[in-house]
């Protein structure tokens, strides 16, 4: 008896080891491809490509996707999906732009507070009401997009009524019919400044990914997240707080989408409800490229970052491609994106089959 148990133990032990090994290889593979592509592009396109300006712009743009993808990674590891992130990010950019009149920090914290609530709502609907994540977040997707379309009008018309005594210019000043403009007299756009030579969004990106990786691999919360994705029923029977973990994971996704929205607003200087279309799918693509399986139960945070950066790099390079006066239009770029995603998933297939 004991030997059998021992054997089984050993068996799972080695399996686990192989798994984590493979996972690391996956992240490493994407990283190596990333470096290779980067060097190649630098050789071909020269200074235009590897200029600090281009790299900074690219990284700041991709930091927004990176925040969303980090939340998505956790959600996907629990076996769920969060389609609402792009709409929540847009809602966040609206809120951030409006609260920019109170300064940078209030804008950030109020915005993230609200988007965390949206994520919390997702989590409650999924964990308490047992509604499939796909539908629950689809609903939030629609509602958040609708709210961000309404917000400019509401803020312009109704806020003076709700809070009388505040001069009407304050409410209507920065609000157009369809968008909210950032108050440039305040320090909202400080979030894009350099800190020690590196723009703050990039520092934030690296910081949240390090925290995310540590949380996933070493914290109790991370282990629970992995366990729930692996086998929800078993986790429940073992007494893990499945619902609470799910609610936290979706709230986290909402919070990170909020952060992404703040940077979106700061970058554009104006919050438009038509921004960020399709980001949820780009985030899912990045997570998949990073090697996290959509079935949940396993995944890696750093690999997702590699996925985001690799996809961002490829799309950045497509802007430089110019063969004999024939430059790639955005339309060709989306065809190539599709083909690229196909190839990456194809390369992954044997890996996922072996482990899953």
């Amino acid at each position: 008896m004991a030997t059998i148990a021992n054997n089984a133990n050993q068996d799972t032990g080695t399996r686990k080891f192989q798994l984590s090994n493979l996972m690391r290889q996956q992240g490493a593979l994407v990283f190596i491809i990333f470096i290779g592509v980067f060097v190649l592009a630098s050789i071909i396109f020269g200074e235009n490509f590897y200029s600090a300006y281009n790299i900074k712009t690219m990284l700041i743009y991709n930091s927004m996707l990176a925040f969303i993808s980090l939340g998505m990674t956790f959600v996907i590891i629990t076996g769920g999906i969060d389609l609402s992130v792009s709409s929540v990010a847009v809602l966040a950019s609206m809120l951030a732009a409006w609260f920019s009149r109170f300064g940078l920090l209030p804008a950030i914290f109020v915005t993230i507070f609200f988007t965390t609530l949206v994520g919390f709502f997702n989590g409650i609907v999924i964990a308490r009401w047992n509604i499939q994540p796909f539908i629950a977040t689809l609903v939030t997707f629609m509602a958040a997009r609708g709210l961000s379309l309404i917000m400019p009008k509401v803020f312009a018309i109704y806020m003076p009524v709700v809070l009388p005594g505040v001069p009407i210019e304050l409410w209507a000043n920065n609000v157009l019919d369809f968008s909210i403009i950032i108050d440039r007299t305040k320090n909202m756009q400080d979030i894009l400044l350099d800190f020690g030579g590196i723009p703050i969004p990039i520092i934030l990106m690296i910081a949240v990914y390090v925290i995310g990786e540590v949380a996933l691999q070493f914290s109790r919360f991370g282990q629970r997240t992995l366990a729930i994705g692996g086998n929800e029923e078993a986790s429940r029977l073992m007494g893990l707080p499945v619902r609470r973990v799910k609610v936290i994971v979706y709230s986290l996704s909402g919070a990170l989408a909020g952060l992404s929205g703040v940077i979106l607003a700061a970058r554009s200087g104006v919050a438009l409800p038509t921004e960020a279309v399709g980001w949820e799918l780009q985030a899912i693509a990045a997570v998949v490229v990073g090697g996290t399986l959509l079935t949940g139960g396993r995944g890696s945070v750093i690999s997702t970052l590699m996925g985001v950066l690799l996809l961002g790099l490829i799309f950045n390079i497509l802007n430089f491609v110019n063969v004999g006066g024939f430059s790639l239009t955005v339309y060709w770029q989306s065809v190539i994106r599709g083909i690229f995603l196909f190839i990456v998933v194809l390369l992954q297939a044997p890996w996922s089959k072996r482990t899953g």
Binding site: I135, Y331, S334
Partner: protein, 352 residues
């Protein structure tokens, strides 16, 4: 004894489930009828208070006309969503999902004008070109569906990823076909599929009803329908029972693709222009919502074609009613989201 007790409990439960299913379906029909009744009442009030109409002629005639146009507006708007959602219902019944329908619509919509405005029309005549402009895009759309199906069955991609690839790449292909430019045209014969009015009802409404009826029959009375449900219910068991799982799965994606192709043609025919950037944009979400509201669970194994039809109508009627009583579009979007949530919540209660 225990087994008989268990069976008794099971039977009772399934009875309850069936009863609940009926209540829900009737509930949806009742809500729909209430909404239609409300709108008729509103239109009647508008018509009867409009003095010019009352003076110039028969009130009832004007009323019938108003009602007719109101119904036509709703059915016309919902037709493409229903057509796509029927395909989606097949896919979801097998436990999959198809995000690529909007992109496939865009491709089909771009192809049709390319065919009837191209050299084929000059060489072989307009009639032949029109037939080609309808048949070829639908076949191509089916081929994209086949590609989805093969990715899911042969390459073992997860459905959401496989169709995401076509979602991203497909719209790009549609845009590349004309370099992103719109194609404007005037071709009454081709546009008959959307602008024709046999017996006063738009052609696309007929197409919608035919699609729904055929799909309903297939799901209910053919072995293919049973296979679809078996695959969605328990794939391994279905495989062991000899169901050609891969073929069935591929087939549902082909069906979904071809139906999306039809919907894409209808959209360009309505607009007299093909716009690859907007044709079918976000329709996959409408279709999934209609399917979910209609009582088809996303986990597969069950399907209700009529439910999907009613679900799409319900969403459309709510939107129409809200807009017609002056609620802004954006707010209607939020209300819509709430309705989907409630409808799916009620459905989950049943299965739980």
């Amino acid at each position: 004894m225990t087994t008989s007790e268990q069976t008794a409990v099971k039977v009772e439960r399934s009875n309850f489930g069936e009863r609940f299913q009926k209540v829900r379906t009737y509930g949806m029909v009742i809500v729909l009828l209430l909404l239609v009744g409300f709108n008729i009442f509103r239109i009647y009030r508008v018509v009867s208070t409009n003095e010019t109409i009352v003076e110039n002629g028969n009130v009832t005639e004007a009323f019938v006309q108003a009602l007719n146009s109101a119904l036509n507006v709703n059915l016309t708007q919902v037709a493409t969503i229903v057509i796509v959602a029927v395909g989606m219902t097949f896919v979801i019944a097998t436990g999959g999902i198809d995000l690529s329908v909007g992109a496939i619509m865009a491709i089909a919509g771009q192809l049709a004008p390319l065919i009837f405005m191209g050299p084929i029309a000059e060489r072989f005549g307009m009639a032949f070109a029109n037939v080609l402009a309808i048949v070829v895009p639908i076949i191509i759309a089916g081929i994209f569906g086949l590609f989805n199906g093969l990715m899911v069955t042969k390459l073992k991609f997860q459905p959401i990823i496989a169709t995401l690839i076509v979602f991203i790449g497909g719209r790009g292909i549609a845009q590349v076909l004309t370099n992103g430019y719109l194609q404007f045209f005037k071709n009454p014969d081709f546009q008959y599929i959307a602008l024709g009015r046999p017996l006063g009802i738009p052609t696309q409404v007929y197409i919608m009803f035919i699609v729904v009826l055929v799909a309903w029959y297939v799901m209910r009375s053919t072995s293919f329908g049973q296979y679809v449900l078996a695959v969605g219910g328990n794939e391994k068991a279905a495989r062991l029972a000899g169901v050609p799982v891969d073929k069935v799965k591929t087939a549902v994606y082909v069906i979904s693709g071809a139906l999306a192709g039809i919907a894409g043609l209808i959209v360009v025919a309505i607009n007299s222009a093909s716009d690859a950037n907007l044709n079918g944009m976000l329709i996959e979400l409408d279709a999934i919502a209609a399917t979910a509201v209609g009582g088809t669970p996303l986990s597969g194994g069950q399907a209700s074609i009529l439910g999907t039809f009613l679900g799409a109508l319900l969403i459309q009627m709510v939107k129409f009613t809200l807009l017609s009583i002056g609620v802004p579009y954006e707010f209607a979007l939020v209300v819509n989201a709430g309705i989907i949530l409630i409808a799916v919540y009620v459905q989950t209660k049943r299965t739980a």
